[in-house]
């Protein structure tokens, strides 16, 4: 019974994760392309569901025939770095505005908007991660 449930859940997640990998193999590194539901794969890893070989192959950062081997963890890490960089850029622009060294305020505004959107997106990803974790916890196995 337990094994059956694991199989279904893991195959479901494996398929979703393949979607993530296919997208990442097209070198879409932007956060907009992240399939939020693919987080469940990492959550299963966190919850210790490593029993099936199919799941194991995908959750390790190995090269699959289709993808570039880009795992979701790498994507998340690079996204966080990008969010931080955008925030730093926006801060620098505002500092230059304070000393009067900008040509037009629209540069500063747009830089602040880019930083805001990136931060909002990654915060939403974090929220969905927490939700999914809680949902998994509620799953009756």
């Amino acid at each position: 019974m337990e094994r059956g449930a694991h199989t279904t859940a893991s195959l479901f997640c494996y398929n979703l994760a393949r979607c993530v990998k296919i997208r990442s193999s097209n070198s879409y590194r932007e956060e907009e392309e992240i399939q939020v539901d693919g987080l469940k794969l990492d959550l299963m890893k966190m919850a210790g569901i490593q029993s099936l070989p199919a799941v194991a192959a995908v959750s390790e950062k190995k090269d699959t025939p289709r993808g570039t081997g880009l795992s979701f963890e790498d994507l998340l890490e690079s996204s966080m770095k990008q969010v931080n960089d955008l925030q730093q850029d926006s801060d620098k622009m505002v500092n230059r505005l304070a000393t009067g060294d900008v040509d037009d305020i629209s540069e500063v505004v747009l830089s602040a908007q880019r930083a805001e959107f990136a931060l909002r997106l990654i915060t939403e990803v974090r929220n969905k991660l927490v939700d999914a974790y809680q949902q998994l916890g509620r799953m009756s196995v």
């Binding site: 505002v94 500092n95 304070a98 000393t99 060294d101 305020i105 500063v108 602040a112 805001e116 929220n127």
Partner: protein, 133 residues
Amino acid sequence: MISDFNWKVMEKTMEGLSRRFESTSRNLANANTPEYARRNVSFEDQLREVVDGPRSLPMTITNEGHIPSGPMAVSAVVPEEIKIYDEKFRLDGNNVDPEREMAVLSQTRMAYNAMSRFVAKKGSLYRLVIGGR
């Protein structure tokens, strides 16, 4: 978080701008006072030293009691009111030009609005990250 560099710079800028606003409105009030020299508040150059780093080589301090040239931290930036003596002035010794003061007033107000918007935006982002929803 609250005392990060950018936040301090924004605070200091708003302080300097409001001082400039006061000084300019005092100039306008004294537009007809004899022997009155117009004033302005200067803080951008000091702030630029802190933000960009000093342009020339900074002085090496051999003793901690020695005063380094230029401000080293945002808290050391002090907006100061300076009197400006133009070469052209009216017969009564007053050099206030109402149009120029109005232009400065308008610019100060615009810069203050912009800075307060950026502070608000940064605050809302902090709230987003803390609250999460």
